[in-house]
Structures are given as C-alpha cells and as structure tokens.
Symmetry: C2
Subunit: 409 residues, 2 copies
C-alpha cells in the first residue's frame, strides 16, 4: 500500500482557467478502464517541458519534442496508457503523428499543435485505431473540473491517483496551479515511466517557462531518478494559460517569477514524492540526505548508491537496522578520495556511525525504533564541503518482484 | 536453487603440493558450523591478490594489503565467516592484527606473515576471542586433501560449495591448480562479499604472479561486478608454491606463463560463474554479451545496465519475454552518442529487435521458448566497432528479497 499517501479529493482540485480535460475508455490494453486523456489549452497558452534522456526514447517523445520546437502554439496534449509506443521504430513515429492528426481533426487545429504521450508496455505497436475511435468521447467529455478523472486516467501500476492544487496571490492577483502525475516503478526509477502535467493560469514568457520547468524538475522529479537517465517515455510538462489577472511574467529577476517557481516546485515535489510513496510494493518512504559534500555530483553519487542498493532497500523492508549496508554503499559510490573516517551516518536523529565504524553512543534499540517508522531519513554528513543533496526513495519488498514479474500478464 | 551448478565432488579436488588446509567450528555467529579456515603455505610459496576498491574497505583487507606489501613471505591465510569486520574503525584493525598474531603464535611465524579475511555481517565487532579459541583446532585439522571442507567453511548464504581442480602438463611437468570461492548476493554483485582462493604448485615470480591474478580477475570475477566497485571485503588470492617440477616462471612472454594464465583464468571463470549460478534466489543464469562496440567501457556500460536492471531481471524470473525492458536499459546505459536504430538484440539465436524496434521476423513464441531455459544469452550487437564484452548475471526472484530481508535474523 502507498506510504502515507492519500488519494486526492476531487473537490480540492482547482480548475485552471484556460484548461479543459476530457477522459475516455479506449480499450487500449484492457476494457472498462479510463486510458485516454485529452488536455485542451486556450489560445495563447504556452507549454514547456523536460523529457527523458534515454537513447531509446519513445516515438511520442520524439514527436512531442519536434512539435514543441516547431512552436505553432500547442492546443492540446493527448495521453494514452496501456502502450508506451517505445522501441517501435519508424512505425511508432507514424503512429504518434497519426494520433496527433486524429485529435487535431476533432479540435480544428494542426497536428503539429498537439503533443502526444504514451505509457505502458514497450516494443508493441500502438493501437492507433482504438485511440482514434476513443478520441471523440474524450473531446465530448471536456470540462475544467476533470482533474481528478484525469489523474486516474494516466495511472498504470499506480495504486493511488496523484494530484494537487495550490493557489497563491502574486502582486494582488490570484494564481492557480494544478498538477497530476503518474509513475510507480521505484527501485530503479529511471526505468519507470513518470508523466507529470502541471498547469497554471499565470502567463509566463516561453524562455522563462522552459527555465522554470527545468529548475522545478531538477528539484523534484530528478531527485527520484538517476542523473539524467530516465525511462523511454518520461516527461514533465508545464502549461501556462495567462488567464489570471497577473501580467505576463517576462523576467526571472522578478518577485513574481520567484513566487511562481517556488509554488510550482512545491507542486512538483509533492507529485514526485507521491510517486515514491506509491512505489511498486513500497512499505517505507526513505529520504536520503547527503550533507557537507564538495559538490552536488558527489552528494548525488553517494545518495543514489544508497537509494539504489537492493541490500539497503531490503533491510528497510525488513525493518532491520543492518546499517553496515549503508556504509558499504557509501564506500562504493565512486567518490575516490572519500575519507570514510570523518563522516557521520544518522538514521533520523540517531547517530549510527562515525570514525569509520559504529558510533559509541549507538545501540540497536534506537536503530530498531527508527526502522519501525514508515517515513525515515538517512542522513550522511561528509564533513568535506558545504553542498547538500536530497533524494527520495522507497524500500524493496516481495511485492516489487511480484508486480514486475507479472506486469504484462 | 542454484542454476545448473552441482556441488564439487571431494575426491575430484586435487591437493596442491605445499598447501595444507585446516577447518574449525569457532561458533563465531552460530553453533555447529564450520566457520574458520586456515590455509598454510610452504616456505618459498608466493602470494598475490586483488582486493575490493570500496572506500569502506574492511579491516582485514587493510591488514592483508599491508602484510602483502611488507612481504616477509606469507605463511598462512585465515578466513572467518559470520562477521565481516567491516565498518569497525580502529578496533577492527586491532582485531584483524590480533587474529594474525594468534595464528602466527601457533605456526611459529610473524603476525605480518599471515593474511586475514572475514565475511559476514558489517559493522559488528569481530569476536576475536572465539577465533583465537578456534584456531588450535584448525591447525590440528591441517591436511592437503581438505579442499572440499575448506570450500564449505567459507560459505555464508551460499547454497552450494564452490571448488574446482585442474591439471595440465607444461614443458613435461604436471601442474595442479585448485580453487575455492564463496559469494552469492548477486543482484548488485558489488555488494556481496566474494572471496576466492586459488593455489597452484607452479612457481611464479612475484611481479608476474600479481599480473596474472589481476588478468585472471579481470576476465572472471570482475565480469560479475561493477567496474571497480566491490564489497567491503572482496578478495581473490593466488598462491604459487613452486613445488611442481616446472622451473619458476619468470617471463610473461613464455609459453609456460600463458599456459598458466589460461588455466588459472579458466578456474577463476568457473568459480565466478558458480557464484552467479548460486546467486541469492537465482532461477536463471544469464550471459550478457555486448558486441561491436568502440571500446570496452561502452560495452560494459551497456552490459551492466542490462544486468542490473530489476525490471529486466524480474522479467527473466517470470520467463516473460518483455524484451522492451532490455532496449530501455540499453538506452539509459549512458552511451550518449549511441544510435539505437543500427543495433540488434538477440535472445540466444532469436533476433528480437533491429531498426529501433521489434524485428519483423520476431514472434513471441520464439522469445517464450528461450525464456523457459535456465541458461540464456542476451546478445547486443552495436555495429559501431570491434570490441566485445561478456558479463554474467542471474534473474531476480521473490527469494532474493526473502534472503536479504532476513539475513541477520
């Protein structure tokens, strides 16, 4: 079950002026399941995004990138589950473009004004005919208050839908931000498709919007994934409709930009953490914080070595303070000149190790107490610099194997 | 159960002239279990080895390295299970030295002529008193034909003991090689302690011996682990007693050196593969072969990305040809300029993917047939160079989680 994560309450998800969402059941992989989402944007809305760096990036990623660069004004996004349209070669590109064309025909815009997204099984041909047949129902279903259904429509192995809204007042104008996300394969998050869609009614000039989504992703979704290594389909999109009373933000030096950056980053962090909390088979949410490093690279190397170690993750699943496994992971993280004798390892408030070994003050009962919690922080203090980094991960259980050994069947 | 791996037959393990092995039950972690091994070497025997590169390397590794460098002639090796003496700080170093001193007292040599090795739980203090109390029995037990018991004495979570002998004739002289190893944590082999001890009655000059063990390790144990990232305690030791009729080998250009290198590498490959076949919870033995790369680095990056992917490994556990997961792993391996449209992916003899997607000739029944096997080769042909690399790994099952969630209890 998800770790300290409640489903969103539909009534608390706020419409974003200029955004309509339509959902349909297109029977892409299974019957009787919401598997198709259309997000329509008003004229003048701006879209920016960050995508996977996987060399085998999926066809919809290639097409969405091209359409964003082409920049004739994006009018809609279309998301299907049940098939990733990845590892599908030239056919996959044609299928992604055909999906855009089908929706463009319904909305009266160009195919290049549509961004396509897919998530699901890799290396199977996208059933375009089913998607095209489902799109009219999605278009008919359009509404501003459909965010909850939209969050459900993009789920794959997710147990809980992920969505949040936030309102703030900037320069006297109320600004709304609503975001949804999906993703739950967490032991190597770089393999699980993560999709995130955040919309705001603020107006943000295009180059700033791109900078903003990149910064927000670096502080959220990129803290639950390996440095730049992501799945074939990962994407985080930020949509700004400009329908609020706030004048268009055109400078990154402005208070308005920074307020938006903070608020959108908060939304992104909530969604990214929700993906970890709903990690496949997760029973514990683990924050890995590495402090006092010389640079971010070494902090992240150590953080990821801990966060990816199956031995560490299974120990947390067992609530077993077998904490030497964390030391071993720190040691093989690849920081060649690391002096392990000067670092400290904490589990929440408990000092576990220092001077190259177990801390004199440490006793197993304290470790056991923290291990029983469902939210735990591993803190490594390197004592060699002033840079910190925080990552989020989950433990590793029988159910992870079960889910991933049976995902296709 | 181990994958296509039978226990060694005691009678087939050949004594190596100049090597005596003694085993004892020292009750280090559990009662009634062989957990202490002494390997005594004749005067004039030479020892070389390769050790973990983990920054948190264990106390016995530090002490063994120092004693090897000191080079007063190594007279014995002592190996305990049940406790890794890692993450134990200054106390750990004292304990490793005390173990050497205790054995040196019994054998009438200096403590610096002993090499200590430990494997087991990390960050707990080594019970030196128990080891010291057990050593006399191990010394009394010494015999040349104790290799089978020695292989059993170093097991931790291993299900099957790992040992092999090989004889060959070089320049008319019969040379014997016998090796043992332990290790079984395989999903991230860099975390599981691997210990290997190979002895030969050939005489090999010290600098050559070091070169030989390094080369043999690179072609065996280092193909089941991450580039240079190893556990806190990993070690592979090569002992050459010089008791055979073959004159001491002093040049790496000689036919004798190359014959020895090949034979010792064969022994090392058998032992390394045996560790994978006995991987924790393993049900399948997987060879990952990457061909046609520009250099070894990129071949290994891609090989390890595949071999470490939990999604790939769980698919093999499920015998599910969900082979897009392999493409995704290739894509995120970190080879930035990789052209995925020109590579081919094979599962044994079955062409799975080419031209960026599923091969036209591929059908699921063929993939399913190969997936049912217990020995499977994943072959990636990059078509961009002439370099190949081969790695060995295993699948990832419920039992891996079970073993590692309960290892301490």
């Amino acid at each position: 079950m998800p770790v300290n994560l409640n489903p969103p309450v539909a009534a608390q998800l706020l419409p974003v002026a200029g955004v309509l969402l339509g959902i349909a059941q297109a029977n892409i992989k299974r019957e009787n399941r919401k598997d198709l989402l259309v997000i329509q944007l008003c004229d003048g809305a701006r879209v920016a995004g960050v995508f996977t760096k996987n060399r085998f990036c999926a066809a919809p990623v290639i097409v969405a990138r091209a359409h964003l660069e082409h920049d004739e004004g994006i009018r809609a996004l279309v998301v299907n589950t049940g098939n990733a349209n990845a590892g599908t070669g030239e056919q996959g590109l044609q299928d992604a473009r055909a999906t855009c064309a089908a929706l463009a025909g319904l909305l009266g815009c160009k195919a290049t004004q549509i961004l396509p997204f897919s998530t699901g099984v890799i290396m199977e041909i996208l059933p375009v005919a089913k998607i095209a047949a489902g799109l009219p129902a999605a278009v008919t279903n359009r509404a501003a208050d459909n965010w909850f259904d939209a969050a459900e429509a993009i789920m794959t192995t997710d147990i809980v839908a992920k969505a949040i809204s936030k309102q703030l007042v900037i320069d006297g104008a109320t600004v709304t931000i609503t975001g949804i996300a999906k993703g739950s394969g967490m032991i190597h998050p770089n393999m699980a498709t993560m999709l995130g869609y955040i919309a705001t009614d603020a107006g943000i000039a295009p180059p700033l919007l791109q900078a903003l989504v990149r910064e927000a992703a670096n502080r959220s979704f990129n803290c639950i994934t390996v440095d730049g290594d992501t799945s074939t389909n990962d994407a985080l999109m930020l949509m700004a409709t400009g329908k609020s009373a706030l004048p268009e933000v055109t400078s990154s030096d402005s208070a308005a930009y920074n307020a938006l950056l903070e608020a959108i980053t908060e939304v992104a962090i909530y969604l990214a953490q929700a993906i970890v909390r709903d990690g496949e088979g997760a029973t514990k949410f683990i924050t890995v914080r590495v402090e006092g490093g010389r640079d971010e690279d070494e902090c992240k190397k150590i953080g990821y070595a801990i966060a990816h170690s199956p031995l560490v993750k299974t120990a947390f699943f067992a609530s077993d303070p077998n904490l030497g496994r964390i030391l071993a992971a720190i040691g093989y993280a690849g920081v060649d000149d690391l002096n392990v004798d000067v670092l400290q390892l904490y589990l929440d408030d408990v000092l576990v190790a220092e001077n190259g070994g177990r801390a004199a003050s440490y006793n197993e009962a304290d470790g056991q107490r923290v291990m029983q919690q469902s939210d735990i922080t591993i803190r490594v203090v390197l004592n060699r610099g002033a840079v910190n980094a925080t990552l989020w991960t989950c433990d590793f259980s029988y159910d992870y194997v079960k889910i991933n050994a049976s995902y296709r069947s």
